[in-house]
Symmetry: C2
Subunit: 237 residues, 2 copies
């Protein structure tokens, strides 16, 4: 938690914030070992960031005197990610990685090799997803939540929605054995598709290419989805 | 397990391999759903890779007929990594990420903000480390284990060992706020230093710079060590 991220309802007066949830209180005590008078970085969800002084830290509430939260959060990464739904634990970590890296739109997609049961996982409940996104924002000192979409059917997404999304973005699909190495340091907006642990099937790669995605690869090494997503975003970004 | 990685003692005749450990047997059954006659990619630790046919898959043993294992594993990443010892669970995952990405030399370093108790973690036992390295190799279809060194004292490592290691490598230390952005696509051998979750202290950054490391940053976003390591290696590599 490199940033105390306030919900708008945590702000009780122009310069007073109250933090009452157990997770943040515990973090302030155990990780920050914060004491009244300490200066910390604060931000408001969807808004700016700035400094605040801890006024009091009790069992059930921390109170901050807040400066003007008028600094911009770090710039977003202008890459939309379309990710085949990973298994629940990997989903949780991937949401944090991707949010910390600055992705602002993430579509979780069904593909042939996504186990159907993953769509029933409690990790997909909105409040669980929200939790991981908040952790990613706090890590990277960001305030702007990514939008998350669930695309539970491959064909309608790729045929009906994807072409429109690629009207003003460069489409890329990462898949082992593609001809083009992953480009470095894109200067244009992009949309990146990453398959599931067992890979996309050839039909899916063809459909994605037909919808306007260029096939790219990261070399001979097959990476776990979690590793591959970070490596691809870091190289493209 | 994109590669069935054989220890030399698993090879019982020029073309016969026997796999007897429960982890790999379970993986063959549950993930590969392998059946006799199936062709799989095999490799021998420290050696080549090739194809093999599953002859039998019993409760206690899988037998393979092995072709000549004469293909080279994927090229190594010529970046040595010096990583402040992460907390145990993050260490486990980082070992897998880093091995999968092709790092062949990893030094785990003590720094001020590494909790001393981490050095007592069971995750640091040679057999536990070995386990994670093997998982990383199997993932990336590699056969060559990285060397792992433990540097439990910062000063002797940085003053006595590091300058020699940098004689023929470009030294880099990743730290927020450094002047230079992380370079892309290095063509020379490198050594990368990454600090712990709470960061390096200014004295440590100075010492690393004095030993020959250039300070680099990954932008305004503060990333978890695990994310940062993958992002840095992907951008440099």
């Amino acid at each position: 938690m490199n940033l105390i991220l306030l919900a708008p309802e945590d702000l009780h007066a122009p310069h007073l914030a109250r933090v009452r949830d157990p997770r943040r209180l515990r973090h302030l005590k155990e990780v920050h070992r914060a004491a009244p008078g300490d200066e910390l970085t604060l931000g408001v969800l969807g808004g700016g960031i700035g400094r605040g002084r801890l006024l009091s830290l009790e069992a059930e509430e921390a109170r901050f005197e807040v400066d003007t939260l008028d600094q911009a959060p770090p710039p977003a990464l202008d890459i939309e990610l379309v990710l085949a739904l990973p298994r629940p634990r990997m989903l949780a970590r991937s949401l944090e990685h991707v949010t910390a890296l600055g992705v602002k739109r993430l579509t979780l997609l069904h593909t042939r090799r996504v186990e159907k049961s993953y769509w029933q996982s409690p990790e997909l409940r909105p409040e669980k997803i929200h939790e991981h996104l908040i952790l990613g924002l706090e890590q990277a000192r960001d305030t702007r939540l990514p939008e998350i979409e669930l695309a539970t059917r491959f064909k309608p997404f790729v045929e009906d929605l994807l072409p429109g999304r690629l009207a003003a973005r460069r489409g890329l699909v990462a898949h082992p054995g593609m001809e083009q190495a992953c480009p470095r340091g894109l200067t244009e907006p992009a949309l990146l598709v990453v398959g599931p642990e067992g890979g996309l099937i050839p039909y899916e790669v063809e459909q994605l290419q037909a919808a306007g995605c260029e096939g790219i690869h990261l070399g001979e090494r097959i990476l776990r989805v979690e590793t591959a997503v970070v490596a691809l975003l870091a190289r493209l970004g």
